[in-house]
């Protein structure tokens, strides 16, 4: 036996089915572990989970082992990524190994075949017709053209052969599909190395010029530093040079600092002007939530309402509406709409405890507040949630003459004794919008890969390479027609097609 060199051996290793199976098993089994262990979660959560699965005493030890093996963030671990890379190599080399042979078949012109080969074709039909071969030929050409076969013709010694093929390229469908997987992986890698994935929680009325990366653990000193950096960036309206000067560092140093703390300079300012939630009927199930974002760049600024499934895109960054909440310890502004008895409307924005005048000589002051207020059976108000589901303001009128709880979602609480209406529009400035921020230069490559994959799969599973040979042998009163063919997949459908062709010829 011939001795193999190292390149051949590596090649053989990567083309081996065993490697494919082993990799497949490794990826599948480790993925299963990854769906059970919560990824990138607080250690405590997984320790609790492990305590339920195993003995609570050994749960922390198991956690430490899993953590060391990077199972707590396994889809980004070096070993899982290596599996994926090996899988890609396997795919490339297996495809390359088989491609030349397939390309040869695809390029090959169809030729007349000897009788023995014809006998061996998987699909064969035979009929005797009362037409001479010459006149039959024309009918055949016409009928087969309708089915997409352009017949070529050769006269052999005692018969005429007509032959054609179509869909030869469909044999490449598999390779197109394999290529698409590689394109998707390439796009994903570009996203990982050159993209940014993070978040930004912006309180109503606040603006940022940086976004936060995920998975950062800051010490208290770090936090002070981060606050400094953000403040400097915000003051400079996102301009790196100005911010660097104000901090007394060079632009390069600032860049490095930002990177160390996982801060992504956006290059523009983004503000949350307003945040709103709509609920279904009287429930607390959100129907829709949206934020009014304002983008301020050097030469332009614009605003856009974003909601789930409708993000904001600017300069390669995409801002997705992903969550919302109440900013701890924030103080806001009450926004009221006053409608007097004679229909005069007035908007008021007031601070808590700030006295304000209303037409008709009313003096009002907000003296208490609840984020989500409801009334129990006895009519007593109680707070039922921390979120701003139904904010309520306790308003004192005319220096303790009377007080009212005014609730945003309960119109019956807006009525005042004299027939005017004081509606609570919003407690503005305490909610934040949770934005997912992403810059992914690879996403278009991933989409391209997906389109190619769809095409590749279609070619692979719904098209086939069909070859057909017709032999015309002269008989006494007509001719004998023998049809034979081969197909790369779905033989039955091909057989039915040939039967249809025969029927049409006989007509």
């Amino acid at each position: 036996m011939q001795k193999k060199n190292i390149v051949d051996r590596i090649w053989d290793f990567f083309t081996s089915i065993k490697l494919a199976i082993v990799l497949f098993l490794l990826i599948a089994l480790s993925s299963i572990v990854g769906t059970i262990i919560e990824q990138r979660a607080e250690p405590q959560r997984n320790i609790e989970l492990l305590s339920r699965l195993f003995n609570p005493d050994i749960a922390p030890t198991i956690y430490r082992i899993l953590d060391t093996l990077q199972f707590t963030d396994m889809y980004h671990s070096w070993w899982f990524v290596s599996f994926l890379m090996l899988f890609a190599a396997n795919l490339i080399i297996c495809s390359l190994d088989r491609l030349p042979k397939v390309l040869k078949i695809v390029k090959e012109e169809i030729k007349p075949i000897p009788v023995e080969v014809f006998q061996g074709l998987p699909v064969k039909k035979e009929v005797v017709l009362n037409k001479k071969p010459e006149s039959l030929k024309e009918t055949l050409k016409k009928v087969l053209k309708k089915h997409g076969f352009n017949l070529s013709e050769t006269s052999l010694k005692d018969e005429t052969q007509l032959f054609s093929q179509k869909g030869a390229f469909s044999r490449l469908g598999v390779y197109i599909t394999h290529l698409s997987i590689l394109i998707i992986l390439a796009g994903a890698l570009i996203g990982i190395f050159f993209g940014f994935k993070g978040f930004l929680n912006i309180r109503e009325g606040m603006a940022y010029t940086v976004a936060f990366g995920r998975g950062m653990n800051w010490t208290p000193q770090d936090e002070a530093m981060v606050e400094n950096l953000i403040e400097a960036m915000n003051r400079a309206k996102g301009d790196m040079e100005t911010a660097a000067q104000s901090l007394g560092v060079t632009g390069q140093e600032l860049k490095r600092l930002l990177k160390r703390y996982g801060l992504e300079p956006l290059g523009f300012e983004i503000e949350c002007r307003d945040f709103e939630v709509d609920f279904y009927g009287h429930s607390d199930m959100p129907k829709e939530y949206r934020s009014l974002l304002i983008v301020r760049d050097k030469d332009r600024s614009f605003e856009k309402w974003i909601e789930v499934n409708d993000p904001l895109k600017y300069k390669g960054y995409t801002f997705y509406q992903s969550s919302y909440g109440t900013w701890p310890g924030a103080r806001g502004i009450f926004r009221f709409r006053f409608v007097s008895k004679d229909g005069e409307t007035l908007l008021k924005e007031v601070q808590p405890l700030q006295e304000f005048d209303l037409p008709g000589g009313l003096k009002a002051k907000v003296i208490d507040f609840s984020p989500s207020l409801a009334f129990d059976e006895t009519g007593r108000p109680f707070t039922y949630a921390e979120q701003l589901n139904n904010p309520g303001a306790l308003v004192e009128f005319n220096k303790k003459e009377f007080t009212r709880w005014i609730l945003k979602r309960y119109p019956q609480t807006w009525q005042l004794p004299d027939g005017s209406i004081l509606q609570l529009l919003d407690y503005w400035g305490v909610q934040y919008t949770g934005l997912q921020v992403r810059r992914d230069p690879g996403v278009w490559i991933v989409y391209l890969g997906c389109i190619i994959m769809a095409i590749g799969l279609y070619i692979t599973f719904f098209m086939s390479h069909k070859r057909i040979w017709l032999r015309l042998v002269p008989e006494k009163n007509g001719s004998r027609l023998l049809i034979g063919g081969s197909v790369s997949r779905n033989r039955e459908a091909f057989e039915r097609a040939i039967e249809r062709i025969l029927k049409e010829v006989q007509q």
């Binding site: 497949f24 994903a188 994935k197 829709e288 997705y320 992903s322 991933v446």
Partner: protein, 370 residues
Amino acid sequence: MTSSEFFGIATILYILAMIAYITYLAFRNNTVGMVATTITVAGFVSQTIAFLMRWSEFYRLLEETGIIKSPLQGLIRSIPVTNLYESLIFFVWCLILAYLIIEGRYKNRSFGAFVTPIAGLALAFIELTGMSKEIQPLVPALQSNWLLAHVMMSFISYSLFAISFATAIMYLITTTERRNESGYIFWVLSAGLAIVILLSMGIDYLVFKVGRPDILFKKGYLFKATFLNENTFVSIISFIGALFIFFVLWRYGYLLKHIISTFNITPDTLDEITYKAIAIGFPVFTLGGLIFGAIWADQAWGVYWSWDPKETWSLITWFIYAFYLHSRLLRGWRGKRIAVVAVLGFVAVIFTYLGVNLLLSGLHSYGSMK
């Protein structure tokens, strides 16, 4: 009549059809076979009516809440496949449709006894887990036109995979007979597990829904009458009973081979149906389940792939079926071995679909039971 009444009729008809198909397999009486098909078609018609009615109910609800902007958008977004209950029903609908097509094409009713129990399992699961059957308003993430394509295509592929599971089991039954053969043991274990689960869900149903409707369990009735019974003795008896079923199936399972072979169905035909179901299901799953899912996730959450448990399990399922398709090309992997792969593929489908929702957390939590 309301949509749930029509659906109730369909459920009863499907269960009757299941019994009829199994009877037909056992006794080979053509009248029974005709009856089985008739019942199935009637159930399918009833379910189709129920589905369309629920669709229009859902449409009206969305119209009332005012989140739709045009009639077409409303039609696309109100398709009733937005929670676990609706999706299981849609799965059953696809499965029965696919089955009726195959029965017509191959002029053979023997598959019925293997496919209808899968529908039976899904329906019993709906009844016993106490999942919400209400029409629920859409949470913001589900208000997207991708809903229609992503969910419907996923379930079309799941039902095709279910067909391939049934025919792969039949293939293993018809190609093995020695009790120590690994293929034989494999099908006994998989089919036995399905039978045990189906039976114990049937017992749950009889005990709680028919016998003691006053008993309410917060987390559903699943296996409470048998394996998870409060009485340890009953629970132990149930496990012994299950083992007994496995034993009987193992001891006398080879008889099934002879029964099936009298139905003029060759292992090659079974292998072909398995392959065809997967060959159509796989591209549909790839495009609708994975690619459309990724595009939607990208638009809603800003990540096209986040290794969320649902995504990861879909990928595992995809890998298994990709492996099935490739292994047909390998020497020595035709026949029994790849039938085993087809069975495992469907086990992964079940886990992707139910296991992840019930056991693991993730972004797809609106598929949960509450």
